[in-house]
């Protein structure tokens, strides 16, 4: 296999280095000595998949701390796919060039709704039937996990099992369960696995719909399957596994640097945010542990940059200490620190200043909405004053460009909110102009709001493509010099919305779309909206049913059986407060908001470095 690839296949494709493996720190275990052989399949290209922290964790965890084996596979770019099909080359793992078909388990990382056609394409390239119902004893078990699996129903037809929540403990239990029951038939092994908390086996449930198309009920076919599937989580990040020797790719990947995960979860409770609900509660890692991890990571990788990752790194209680330490120890060797997302306030800029002593970074702030009213609706606790102070601090310390993130199509949005975005941009630019004689640049990225399952906005109607396009035209009609607006594609967002709140009926549409040639739907050069709409028509399913409808509080949702630990009552209350534009405080300062997670899961808010900065709000 490898010889053929090196001689006949790879010289004909772009970026062959994507397909050869053999990187520094790769782990190649002895196939015959391992219990369960699993392939971790990332449904996107190598340079995207290799940046994913969760995959790095699972890769090290299974290979270093268990008797099982985990090898990697990525979606081949269309040029490679074509040659693989012409030459009859099956999808293989990068560690041992073993065809994926020979593994016991293939696990897909589901980070983005639209990567599902790549999942199907990878299965097809591996010679594995796409539908779980058509797979037999000779085929690997196909599993999935990741944030998108919190609404697993649109993918139910394709997966034998979905693992809900954080994988550190769950995946090892799942693999060991398969090994212990290896003498059993495929179906019985899955039934056994369904007893593990966090494992969802779609074939174990019967789904019925009402005449209006909404869900009537979801019933386990036997008592072996739980009525609700509870997410799994790690209670203490200090003792959780984190890789000391991550793989160092040869090719440049996105986020090409060492990564520390400083905390998991976010307590900001922004009402649009999916990750903010499903990854509750906040759990931090101690500065002492992070310092040690930084040291071993850098020693073992040789990276020139270390990134502090989390949903909201500036809220990490030890962020200041940690950044100062890293800059002091590694700065003079040319090793920089990067902060992925900044909080909108002056404190953040001070810290960003610390960071840019080593390397100049782009400054990115996310006010998300243009007016205070709308920011209160979405519970983005940022004031105009915060933003102007941040801009002031940034421009006065020498930055001459700034990037701002907004969303359009938010609930209750009016023309005044759109004007608000433009006004903010103009004022930020004016602040910059006061500090710099050179022209300063303000860039705004405007995403389309997509209501997500498990969030307070899960009942809301998504803006239609026409509405979003009208808003885009309105915003671009007022030209400002050196202010650049970029918009997310409204059609991509529409489809994302359909799948995000979709049900099992969508399986047929997804399969049809793939058969019609859809893949790499997250890439604008390959996304073909018309083909997708054609697939919906062929299946006689109305996509608008999933996105443009205001849902009733009493409606049963396809994802309600997934227990994220957050009460539905809490989500209702948050949604109602949004209508009244009443913000909700951060539970680290305001005290418990009774969302349910801590009591229900017997965990607690884990703030490692003492009291949180009270100015944070």
């Amino acid at each position: 296999m490898k010889d053929k690839l090196f001689r006949d296949i790879l010289p004909r494709v772009a970026k062959p280095i994507r397909y050869v493996g053999g990187e520094l720190n790769v782990i190649k275990k002895d196939w015959d000595q391992c219990q369960v052989k699993m392939a971790l399949a990332f449904p996107d290209v190598y340079e995207i998949g290799m940046a994913h922290i969760g995959s790095k964790i699972l890769y090290g965890l299974v290979n270093e701390e268990s008797p099982h084996l985990l090898e990697r596979a990525f979606a081949p770019w269309p040029d490679m796919e074509q040659i693989m099909r012409e030459e009859g080359v099956e999808l293989y793992s990068l560690e041992s060039f073993t065809p994926l078909r020979r593994f016991d388990v293939i696990g897909f990382s589901l980070q983005y709704e639209l990567s599902i056609t790549n999942v199907l394409n990878m299965l097809d390239l591996a010679g594995i039937p796409l539908l779980a119902s058509q797979r037999g004893e000779e085929h690997p078990l196909i599993i999935g996990g990741g944030p998108v699996a919190f609404n697993p129903e649109p993918f139910a037809d394709f997966f034998d099992a979905l693992l809900i929540g954080e994988g550190e403990e769950l995946l090892l239990e799942f693999l060991s369960c398969l090994y212990n029951n290896r003498a059993l038939a495929r179906k019985d092994r899955l039934t056994r696995a369904a007893a593990i908390e966090g494992v969802y086996v779609p074939s174990g449930y019967q789904v019925e719909y009402k005449a209006d198309g909404s869900l009537a009920g979801m019933t386990p076919v036997s008592s072996a399957y739980p009525a609700r599937v509870r997410k799994r989580l790690v209670s203490d990040l200090d003792t959780a596994y984190y890789p000391d020797k991550p793989i160092v790719p040869y090719m440049e990947i996105v986020h090409d640097r060492a990564v520390l995960e400083v905390m998991r979860g976010c307590q900001r409770a922004c009402r649009f945010c999916h990750a903010g609900t499903v990854y509750r509660p906040v759990r931090e890692r101690s500065v002492a542990v992070l310092k040690r991890q930084a040291d071993t990571q850098l020693k073992n990788t040789g990276y020139d940059e270390i990134s502090l990752a989390s949903l909201s790194t500036l809220d990490y209680s030890g962020v200041s200490d940690l950044v100062k330490h890293l800059v002091k120890i590694y700065g003079d060797r040319g090793i920089g620190v990067s902060l992925p997302s900044l909080r909108v306030d002056a404190f953040s800029i001070d810290l960003a200043n610390e960071v840019q002593k080593v390397r100049k970074t782009t400054l990115t702030l996310a006010p998300e909405a243009g007016t205070q009213r709308l920011r209160d609706v979405i519970n983005k606790n940022v004031t105009e004053e915060d933003l102007f102070q941040a801009a002031e601090a940034a421009f006065s310390s020498g930055w001459n460009s700034i990037k701002l993130y907004f969303m359009i199509g938010l609930p209750t949005e009016t023309e005044a909110d759109l004007d608000g975005v433009l006004d903010l941009l103009a004022r930020v630019k004016a602040i910059g102009q006061r500090h710099s004689r050179r022209a300063i640049e303000v860039r705004a990225s405007l995403a389309c709001f997509v209501p997500k399952a498990h969030t307070p906005f899960q009942w809301r109607a998504q803006n239609s493509i026409a509405e979003l396009e009208a808003k885009r035209r309105y915003l671009t009609s007022r030209k400002m010099k050196n202010v650049k607006l970029s918009f997310h594609d409204s059609r991509t967002s529409m489809l994302e919305g359909v799948i995000a709140r979709g049900d099992r009926k969508l399986g047929e549409v997804i399969l049809t779309a793939w058969q019609m040639g859809c893949r790499f739907d997250g890439w604008s050069e390959y996304f073909d909206f018309d083909k997708w709409m054609e697939a919906f028509r062929k299946c006689d399913i109305d996509p608008e049913f999933y996105v443009y409808r205001q849902r009733d509080y009493l409606e049963l949702f396809p994802w309600d059986f997934i227990d994220t630990g957050v009460y539905k009552d809490y989500l209702v209350q948050e949604d109602q407060m949004a209508d009244a534009a009443i913000p909700t405080a951060d539970c680290r300062q305001a005290g418990c908001l009774d969302c349910g997670i801590c009591i229900d899961f017997g965990v607690s808010l884990d703030v490692k470095e003492g009291k949180v900065d009270a100015t944070a709000g």
């Binding site: 010289p11 990187e23 520094l24 040789g302 990276y303 020139d304």
Partner: protein
Amino acid sequence: MRLRAEYEVGPNHRFLANLEMMHVMERALRRAGIPYHLSEGFNPHIRISMGTVLPVGIWGKKEYFDLEMDPMDGAEFLRRMNQVLPPGIAITACRSLGMGARALMKSINAAEYAFQVNQRPAEVEAAVQEIISQEEILVPSRGKKKNVNKNLRPGLFALNVVPQGDIAVIKALVSVNEPLNIRFDELLDLLAKFGISRESIVEFWREGNYIKQGEQLLSPLVTP
């Protein structure tokens, strides 16, 4: 000090592009704790400069880079780097240079490529003789100037056939950089033109890079 290192890139790493190879070296320098020098400015980088580009798809036995660093024993540099480099990539030799020494890119002007050809040595020898007897060999340029024919003949310094049992290895010493840069893919085109098809070439690599002074061929490591 300025250090010049010679390294080999094995067949498993043939798909690395030049920038990727530079990153491999930079990361190895950091892992090995080599006292490298950094550039000034907003984005400090290691003062390393790579020799002539090794094209994607081929591997090389004698490649070079220069590095500015604090004084360090050469044997120690070799030991520390080879401990941390991925298997298949290794530093084979190094020496210190005066700070004023000519840059690699400005001094390397010849490279030797090897082609293992799955044809009888006598056939290969005949094809090579045919090439040598030409006064002019025009091949479409693969470089930046497209649609131009390039005469490769003056840049073909030596072509030799080494029989290896039933097959043969062609060793081609050619001109690179200024004044005439013969690209690896142009060499493949040239061979094809004289009956040595791409399919019959089972393996190829770069034997080495040299500084050619008149008839003398010097290693970049031994030049003053």
